[in-house]
């Protein structure tokens, strides 16, 4: 599965690229689900010392064990597979706390994973423009309800029901890096109960 192509959108919507090896003292690679494919592709073009200084953090999610053996088999200096992004956060924060000049960050997979990991990196002062990203797999979005402020993970339909307050929200392309989330806004405020049929997010 290759990188995802998105329709052009508004200027706050993140744009993802294609991972490429960059010179660095150390390399932090964080991926979920199909994002593993981006790391495997990246590793094909890497020199030996890349993996010797690489730390792979992988959350398989619904990809299960499809990629885990291959990823582990790359022989990165550190390999970690976690049960959820939340479970991996303390590890990510700890690794970033050691970040020195020359750290390269590579993120791959869903928007929710990349957005949240990017936020961890920028919180410690790493410039977002220096972080590489590649979207693979599910187009599910991490959504903030603008009304109750609750976050609903892995939203795949528009509209959707806020998992906190229950309002029916439509999915905007407006995106906040600080929240690592898109904005969801009540879809039937002007005509309560008139909720459009759900469509898959593309």
């Amino acid at each position: 599965m290759a990188k995802t192509e998105f329709e052009p959108s508004i200027k706050s919507r993140p744009v993802y690229g294609e991972l490429e090896v960059r010179a660095g003292k150390s390399h932090l690679l964080i991926a979920d689900a199909e994002g593993a494919g981006a790391i495997l592709d990246l590793a094909k073009s890497a020199q030996k010392d890349f993996l010797a200084n690489a730390h792979i953090i992988y959350i398989p999610k619904n990809a299960g064990d499809k990629y885990t053996a291959q990823l582990e088999g790359l022989g990165a200096r550190q390999y970690y597979a976690g049960p959820s992004y939340e479970a991996a956060v303390p590890r990510i924060q700890r690794v970033l706390s050691d970040a020195s000049n020359g750290l390269q960050i590579y993120l791959a997979g869903t928007e929710g994973l990349m957005g949240q990991a990017m936020r961890e990196a920028t919180n410690i002062g790493y410039p977002y423009s220096a972080i590489q990203t590649e979207h693979r797999g599910s187009k599910a979005r991490r959504m903030q309800c603008v009304h109750c402020k609750g976050i609903t993970e892995d939203v795949t339909t528009d509209p959707f029901e806020c998992s906190h307050c229950g309002l029916n929200l439509f999915v905007r392309d407006h995106y906040s890096r600080r929240l690592a989330a898109f904005q969801g806004v009540c879809v039937d405020a002007e005509d309560p109960g008139n909720v459009p049929d759900k469509v898959e997010i593309t």
Binding site: K11, Q144, A189
Partner: protein, 347 residues
């Protein structure tokens, strides 16, 4: 200057209205019979004594009631006022700017006495008399930005300038045209304007940013923006849209003159001296259609502007469904006569 402050509400029973004097000084935004986005910046220098363009920070008859409404919004939702940690210095810059300008422009309402860092601020309309140490936030009941903007009409975006861009890193936003500070805080100029249709393609934001990056201390600028609001609701926030959105469906031919408001934003831009930030006050003025049509020139022109506005803009501004009814009302006041150039009602 003699201002009689109204006791009025912007919610529930909506007793807000404009006096004849307030109608006459309303910042009508259309200088010709059509409208399209433009950068439309001009120096924020005094124009016509008594107009909203005369003082740095206009204080009008709605001041006390607007500040009461802001306090209610903040009690319900403290996230409407936020400041990222590096923005406190800009908050002091803003506090100084507003206090100095208001004390100068409205000496009978506001007084500022300074002895080194020992400051004494008196706000007579709100009954505030505080002594504090400049640059020491522990001597104020709120952070400096929140303290002064609880006492100043209009929303305030305090922008950090870096990497040739402006960053929305602090703000007090309770009278907004449907955007969320809590969501947009931390965004750059292009990102927080991302949802605006048509203007990006026209290069408006690239030119506007270039202009704003070069604003110098002591040389503020201004522009107008506008939208439409049903009921005199200052707090048309996305946060509460699920509560107020339904009000848009309550217009009838009988109540439209009273319920439908033109909402005009007087946007000003001041360079801040210590932080090199930029403060972007967005002052909201509301006028009922029945108030606006008391000036025939405005009535004719407004009818033509609304009639000819592109669908995308009427949709973005949130009144596409009500446009036919608005036009039916306004058309009664448009006899097709020519209108004089410029915004002033009686020129």
């Amino acid at each position: 200057m003699n201002i009689r402050f109204n006791d009025e509400t912007f919610r529930n029973d909506y007793t807000f209205k404009n006096s004849d004097a307030a109608i006459k000084r309303f910042p009508f935004p259309f200088d010709k019979d059509s409208y399209m986005y433009a950068v439309n910046m001009e120096p924020h220098t005094p124009v016509r004594e008594g107009s909203v363009y005369y003082n740095s920070f206009d204080v009008d008859e709605h001041y006390v009631s607007e500040m009461r409404d802001r306090a209610m919004v903040l009690d319900e939702d403290p996230l409407r006022c936020q400041s990222l940690p590096h923005m406190e210095l800009a908050g002091w810059d803003l506090l100084e700017l507003i206090m100095v300008e208001k004390a100068k422009d409205y000496p009978d309402l506001f007084e500022l006495h300074r002895d080194g860092d020992n400051w004494h601020w008196i706000n007579k309309p709100l009954g505030i008399d505080d002594k504090f140490t400049f640059m020491d936030a522990t001597t104020l009941p709120y952070g400096p930005m929140e303290y002064i903007t609880r006492q100043t009409q209009g929303d305030f975006c305090v922008l950090d300038q870096r990497d040739d861009n402006l960053w929305m890193d602090a703000g007090m936003v309770t009278t907004q045209a449907d955007w969320s500070l809590d969501f947009d805080i931390g965004m750059n100029f292009f990102e927080w304007h991302a949802p605006v249709p048509l203007a990006h393609e026209k290069g408006i934001f690239v030119r506007a940013l270039k202009f704003l990056l070069n604003i110098q201390q002591g040389a503020p600028a201004r522009r107008l923006n506008w939208t439409m609001t049903v009921n005199p609701l200052l707090d048309t926030s996305p946060e509460n849209y699920h509560k107020w959105g339904i009000q848009k469906t309550t217009l009838t031919p009988e109540n439209i003159g009273n319920k439908q408001h033109l909402r005009v934003e007087l946007q000003t831009f001041f360079r801040l001296p210590r932080s090199n930030g930029l403060v972007f006050p967005i002052r909201c003025y509301l006028i009922k259609l029945e108030e606006l049509v008391t000036y025939p020139k405005w009535a004719r022109r407004f009818h033509r502007v609304i009639r000819d506005l592109p669908v995308e803009l009427a949709t973005y501004k949130g009144f596409i469904d009500n446009r036919p009814m608005i036009l039916e009302y306004l058309s009664q006041f448009d006899d097709g006569a020519e209108t004089s150039p410029g915004v002033w009602p009686e020129d």
